[in-house]
Symmetry: C2
Subunit: 528 residues, 2 copies
Amino acid sequence: MPIDSPYAELARRHARLFRLRHASAMLAWDRATMMPPGGLGARAAAEAELQLQALALRTDPAVGELLDGAAGEALGDWEAANLREMRRDWIDANAVPATVIERRALATADCELGWRRQRPQNDWQGYLPAFREVVAVSRDEARHLGDALGCGPYDALLQRYEPGIDSARVAELFDHLCEWLPALISRARARAGDLPPIGEVAISDQRRLARSLAGLLGFDFDHGRLDESAHPFTGGVPGDVRITTRFSEDALLQGINSTIHETGHARYVAGLPEAWREQPVGAARSFGVHESQSLGLEMQLARTPDFCARLAPLLVDAAGPRAAFEPASLYASMTRVQPGLIRVHADEPSYPMHVIARFRIERALIEGDIEAGDVPAMWDEQMVRLLDVDTRGNHRDGCLQDIHWSKGAFGYFPSYTLGAIYAAQLFAAMRAEVGDLGSRLRHGTLEPVFGWLQHHVWSQGCRFETDDLLRRATGSGLDTGPYRAHLLARYGNDADVPAGRDGQARGDGAAVEPGCNPAAGAGSSDRS
Amino acid sequence: MPIDSPYAELARRHARLFRLRHASAMLAWDRATMMPPGGLGARAAAEAELQLQALALRTDPAVGELLDGAAGEALGDWEAANLREMRRDWIDANAVPATVIERRALATADCELGWRRQRPQNDWQGYLPAFREVVAVSRDEARHLGDALGCGPYDALLQRYEPGIDSARVAELFDHLCEWLPALISRARARAGDLPPIGEVAISDQRRLARSLAGLLGFDFDHGRLDESAHPFTGGVPGDVRITTRFSEDALLQGINSTIHETGHARYVAGLPEAWREQPVGAARSFGVHESQSLGLEMQLARTPDFCARLAPLLVDAAGPRAAFEPASLYASMTRVQPGLIRVHADEPSYPMHVIARFRIERALIEGDIEAGDVPAMWDEQMVRLLDVDTRGNHRDGCLQDIHWSKGAFGYFPSYTLGAIYAAQLFAAMRAEVGDLGSRLRHGTLEPVFGWLQHHVWSQGCRFETDDLLRRATGSGLDTGPYRAHLLARYGNDADVPAGRDGQARGDGAAVEPGCNPAAGAGSSDRS
């Protein structure tokens, strides 16, 4: 297209936006990893200013005209997809009035501060007033966004994290999981026996190990860094990916798992289409697809007997021989099912239950079916029903455990479990093409694994909507079948667990069977 | 003043500008300390975008109208000084056409890249074409800036680093130094005897030592960091100062000196007036005043027998007892005069000679008295004349040693020596008030030293022009007398060196004698 076409001008503006976001990403990374405590005040102001500058670019009325103009241009498929994402951004940027954005910023800053103080005190009543304000402004925000998108308020928030999926579908998927997963968890928990203790490992040794592990999984230290922060995350930009992990002497596996997890995110970011790096179409598809890449490495690739066999000698090198480092013990430790109160420490099959509880609560909260003050009761009720754990009176390890809601991040939680479902689906399709991953882990290179992900996911950016991305990669749209098969193979057996409506349970490594979405109801029965 | 007054609106805009510069400062720090090599491309684009955003704020035509409006407001003295600095910024931002700025950015990026490749090869001819373009565009820039400021082109560039001083005055000061300093250097060099070798010290030990030293000098690690980079610098913002140093196993004193030096810069930044942090008047006064604070700690405070006595046990703790760590040996090592080719490794009295050579060359270059291709010959001529060293054919350690000119930073070099002069003047006045620093170093706290600097320099920001700042702090405007007295006391004696025109040489710690600026000519005789 001509250099002065509306599309070309939009692309130039988005390149500028990307560069501002680069700055924001690095400041946020620095804040979490490097910044001295006294730097916070000035940093908050600087980060807010960058957001203002970005918002000014995104809401410039000229963009609306350019989008209309570009709609008439003859565009290639990448350009057309880019234009679709530009329009999505334009709607999102303009939907919410500045007064609401400002009120939201104040409310969430206040609530986050309160959360940091009141959570350790288990002080729900102290926390509640600030949280009420966050809920009120988030409902307002969601209503505006829903008006712009033509959907309900919670669905509108979901679009920010998982464009193209609505809450009815999420509820259906999640209700389906609830039909068979609690039973699987309870049987697996009953089977969990004693294991040799891992013991303590010096943090300096864990640091070296983490670097080896990230390297083994293809993390490119010429285009990224691995550091430490209170909460592991992946930040930075495609050519300079910043991942963090955290180490504790008595929690070796936690550091290992979070390193693998963040390396999965990092490889996705690094593998995004280079030619489109500064454009919306060059970004990650969604939070759920992002999570599918971290969980793909963590759960599909690494949490396997063969990876444990590969890991064991690294552990012995780092900390000397221990019974717990025997591959079989290591695998047993990594797959031990023991439901608890805390999401971030949950075992693989329990994790979705934590997510489902949060999804049901936040959906009810945003839709106005419950009020802020009702959250603890609904939390207690969901946790006992889904995980058989008692959270009554324990707000600190109950509904106050996560920071998400204090920051107004409603609609985020489902992405964790959608990611787990996508990961199972993608890896099942990959195995069908590249063969057994176990033998690759034992004898060969992992390059075909990464090559498949690069080809089907990383290099595609936002070219396709998620369902289409999945269909092109796996032959099927979103499908819980492979996820169920994966969990059954790893944690259960056919006799243990009643078959879901997608038919017979399948073993790990089974080919994908398309179109087996559950037909469960809209899940309203679970939303009380 | 009313919240919607022109001045108030200007202050709001400058706060936004400060926040953008916060982002730029942190990205630059990250680039030098943390960024993986592959991050450079994306980083350059992000940093350029932030500069564009800042320039757009600075050149918005509304600012000109606001400045005119604010001129009629009744302002307090800080506000009036702030308005003066705002106008200075407005003139600087608007003086140079966008086409020149763009051409400059391209030329300097190209030349800097060339410098990195060609300097190690000693390849002046390879470097020259890109340098010619930098000189051409810098002359253009200087002419535009001079037109806006009503001064000559080189004087205009000087204003960016040392507002309020012109090149005739700099030449006069420097010519004055040339009357007595070369003789002092040559005598001191002749006296320099053998010293016990310092030997190697492990980098991990040097790191710990550097943190202790910075802490001893009042660096606040709650509001700053100390890291490592190829070239030490001070970055960040007042509440979050980022200093760097560099360590080499066989260059212990280099790491110590650069840590002390950057801590001096850091204390100035951290001590800038908190109420004016986001405003122009809250910034450092000039590059020279900045350098006076680093050289104040490095040369005036630390390079003394009493500081060496304080340092010695720290060195023994870090690396075990060595003959070179005896206070007297340490002081002798630190004050050893041995002129060489490289500015950044120069001893204290030789350093100004390196600066004077560069000042003469860059002034001639910008004024059109010489061409880019003439630089090596003038370099050789100056270096033999000023320092009696032979640089012929050695471009790498000659005119290619510094990066400044490749980046188009003409007018910067004089600040180094102006800073040394200011430092001597300020510390002489301080000693007259707080008493002998030696006994403070031996027995007491350094707080009165820092308190004096805080009161007279740090907390003043840009409230006064430099000469006025000096006069209020020392009773005299810019004055080379104390600098001469300082160097004579440390490196020479009256019999060694002919008296300058400011009268009799004075010993270290002498009271300041105001008004003794040299009356030497305009220095044109040295500009061939």
